[in-house]
């Protein structure tokens, strides 16, 4: 057991999968000698060489489209979009092809690739480097959309994503890259894709979150317990799509109250889907309206004011208290 940051945990996962399977390779801008702009691929070029850890030209559609070709030829690329804000350049390749090859060819060809993208605000980055747009991927049939919240599940989910026979968009919360360390087991572990985790059991209200928002959510849960005598259950979605309705609804049926937290804009955000599923399956258990503590429907501002736009524990506490005292 070592205490690792998320960057180190992701690096470990990539090293493991490159060792495990000679058909895997890493392809993205500056992933080679440079080790990635966030150092997630540090040292991999030295260990695995220029044919397995490959620098891409400044062309994101190229990265995704070439990865499709690699998959068809039997390889398993793990590609990186340097920032999720430039992943849009590859949206057409991912919608038109990555998500469809299995269904259109009835399984004859598949795209078992992982598309890694650092996302989200909170590190004082320049324009276009701070958005959360998981919805646009989660909405696409044929794709899985995974977001880890800490070092341990980052490693275990990235491994699982690589092992998954289908394409996975893997958003990495860059605000959590180095924010804290966590014990990561020495032995490799895969966490199932499509399963949410109960990050903190509780009985009065369910707070559903994921990614970078999980930390303020857990802080909020502590504060709710210590200062307001509210016992919050926290669910870490881990997979945005396909979403784990079962775990969410089981919790709601216990607590009767819910808050959803994410950094993405509210309209059509993953929180809307969480609410809709609760309303379809567990409406009659609800004792209060569900609150969404999310990004506002504005462009994430330049970094000088961005922190006011990221859900923090204060807003989560306030919403949970409202919901509980409704």
């Amino acid at each position: 057991m070592a205490k690792l940051t998320m960057v180190q945990a992701l690096n470990l996962a990539l090293r493991e999968i490159l060792r495990e399977d000679p058909d895997t390779l890493i392809f993205g801008q500056d992933v080679g000698k440079d080790g990635g702009v966030f150092r997630v691929t540090e040292g991999l070029y030295d260990e695995f060489g220029e044919d397995r850890v490959v620098d891409a030209p400044v062309a994101e559609s190229c990265i995704a489209g070439v990865a499709v070709g690699l998959c068809l030829r039997g390889l398993r690329p793990v590609i990186e979009m340097q920032f999720s804000g430039f992943g849009y350049h590859a949206f057409h390749q991912i919608e038109n092809h990555v998500s469809r090859f299995r269904t259109r060819t009835r399984g004859r060809y598949t795209c078992p690739m992982v598309v890694r993208m650092p996302y989200g605000a909170g590190i004082r980055a320049i324009e276009h480097h701070s958005e959360s747009r998981e919805t646009i991927w989660a909405h696409l049939p044929g794709l899985k959309m995974v977001i880890p919240s800490g070092p341990r599940n980052a490693r275990a989910l990235l491994r699982a994503a690589v092992h998954d026979p289908d394409p996975v968009v893997f958003y990495e919360p860059k605000a959590s890259y180095r924010a804290f360390k966590e014990e990561v087991p020495d032995d490799p572990e895969d966490f199932p894709i499509g399963k949410a985790a109960v990050a903190r059991p509780g009985s009065n209200v369910t707070i559903i979150s994921y990614g970078a928002s999980l930390r303020p959510t857990l802080e909020a849960a502590d504060e709710l317990a210590e200062e307001h005598d509210i016992d919050a259950e926290v669910i870490d979605l881990q997979t945005i799509s396909p979403m784990d309705t079962e775990t969410i609804c089981a919790s709601i049926e216990k607590t009767g109250r819910a808050v959803v937290v994410h950094e993405a804009p509210r309209t059509c955000g993953p929180g809307a889907e969480v609410v809709a599923r609760i309303c379809e399956r567990s409406l009659m258990y609800l004792e209060a309206p569900i609150r969404r503590v999310t990004g506002y429907d504005v462009i994430m501002p330049f970094f000088a004011t961005e922190r006011y736009f990221i859900p923090d524990s204060r807003r989560i506490v306030a919403a949970a208290r409202d919901v509980v005292t409704f």
Partner: protein, 375 residues
């Protein structure tokens, strides 16, 4: 020197072998065997007759919107002739001649236009991609496949096709550039048929030739008469030899012409003149190849009649097979992921109920969705 012209190391040439009268330039003639020539002729005719049949099927409402390849058969057939079985063929949507040559069952082609995924489920053992609709996106797949082959030490070559319109897309550019950087066994064939729906070639790009675009990527290219089966074979063979010997990619511009509609949803009278079409008719690759075959004594009327009859029967049988095909709409759920996640299984159950209700409701016959073990 403070001011000087820049010399370009790369070469671009133009090539034509067979003239409109069916005479082949003896110095350039690829000298195929009579068997090969007859096979090629039959293949070109087969593609033409299938196109004609599909146009009729479309008018009868038996398939959907259809895009014929009439006049462009040589442009894909020539390269297909050069491909080895393990080479990869990455088509656009005007390469039925090559698909048939590569061994695609004809009913799959018919069913693609008939609205069935079955038509995109590439036959096992064939290294081909299905028809690609989003223009030029396939170029990147081809580059990825070529790179995968190179990484695996597999000597296969990736043959990619697109149209003149496709050269304007960013994906064409990104693929060409990547293929150049990694010196991939990648051959890109532009079927310049002079139109992208209603946009004429000269409005698509100011470059006087499309082949010169290879200069942007640092490799060679050749502009071949795309209605000349021999020129296409020679150009593709040189490119393939280069690719197989580590010489990197080649761009081939096949200069051809779309004799028919863009698709059956299109009315070319709105934007192009009949005279232009008439001008191109004598350059029809089938007409020229036919003249050559007759002139060289490899075919006579009787032989052609026999081939026509064979082809007619082959197409008839394929249409029959195609129209017997019964899709299972549940396949959409079955093939979304390798395993069906619970929330999708719930959708599948909803779908099954809806299908059951539909059949009982309106009494019409509906496809019988097979139950899913996991739904």
């Amino acid at each position: 020197m403070p001011r000087r012209p820049i010399q370009l190391p790369h070469r671009i040439e133009s090539l034509s072998i067979l003239d409109s009268e069916g005479n082949a330039d003896p110095a350039l003639d690829p000298k195929l065997s009579p068997t090969e020539l007859k096979k090629l002729y039959r293949a070109m005719l087969l593609s033409r007759r299938l196109d004609e049949r599909l146009l009729r099927l479309q008018r009868q409402g038996r398939i959907g919107t259809f895009g014929p390849a009439m006049g462009q058969e040589a442009a894909s057939l020539g390269p297909a002739f050069v491909m080895k079985p393990n080479d990869w063929f990455i088509p656009s949507f005007r390469e039925p001649a090559a698909m048939l040559w590569r061994g695609w069952p004809m009913d799959k082609i018919i069913l693609w236009w008939g609205g069935h995924e079955y038509g995109a489920s590439v036959p096992e053992g064939v290294n081909d991609l299905p028809i690609c609709v989003p223009v030029a996106t396939q170029c990147l797949h081809a580059a990825g496949i070529a790179w995968g082959c190179k990484l695996k030490g597999d000597p296969s070559v990736a043959f990619c096709f697109l149209g003149d319109g496709g050269t304007s897309e960013g994906d064409f550019h990104e693929a060409m550039n990547f293929a150049g950087v990694h010196q991939l066994p990648f051959i890109c064939v532009i079927q310049n048929n002079h139109w992208a729906i209603s946009l004429p070639r000269d409005k698509q790009s100011k470059a006087p030739t499309l082949v010169q675009k290879c200069i942007a990527y640092g490799f060679d290219g050749i502009q071949a008469d795309g209605n000349d089966i021999f020129a296409m074979i020679v150009a593709a063979r040189e490119a393939a030899d280069r690719a197989r010997t580590g010489g990197g990619p080649t761009l081939i511009e096949a200069v051809t012409y779309r004799l028919g509609v863009h698709t059956t949803a299109d009315d070319p009278k709105k934007y192009r003149s009949d005279e232009e079409v008439e001008c191109w008719k004598p350059k029809d690759p089938l007409v020229r190849f036919h003249k050559y075959m007759v002139r060289t004594g490899l075919l006579d009327d009787a032989a052609v009649e026999l081939i026509e009859a064979e082809i007619a029967e082959e197409i008839r049988q394929a249409v029959e097979r195609a129209e017997k095909y019964q899709p299972d709409p549940m396949d959409s759920f079955r093939h979304t992921f390798a395993e069906m996640p619970p929330s999708l299984a719930a959708h599948a159950r909803e779908f099954l109920e809806s299908m059951a209700a539909l059949s009982s409701d309106d009494g019409t016959e509906q496809p019988e969705p097979r139950q899913l073990a996991d739904a």
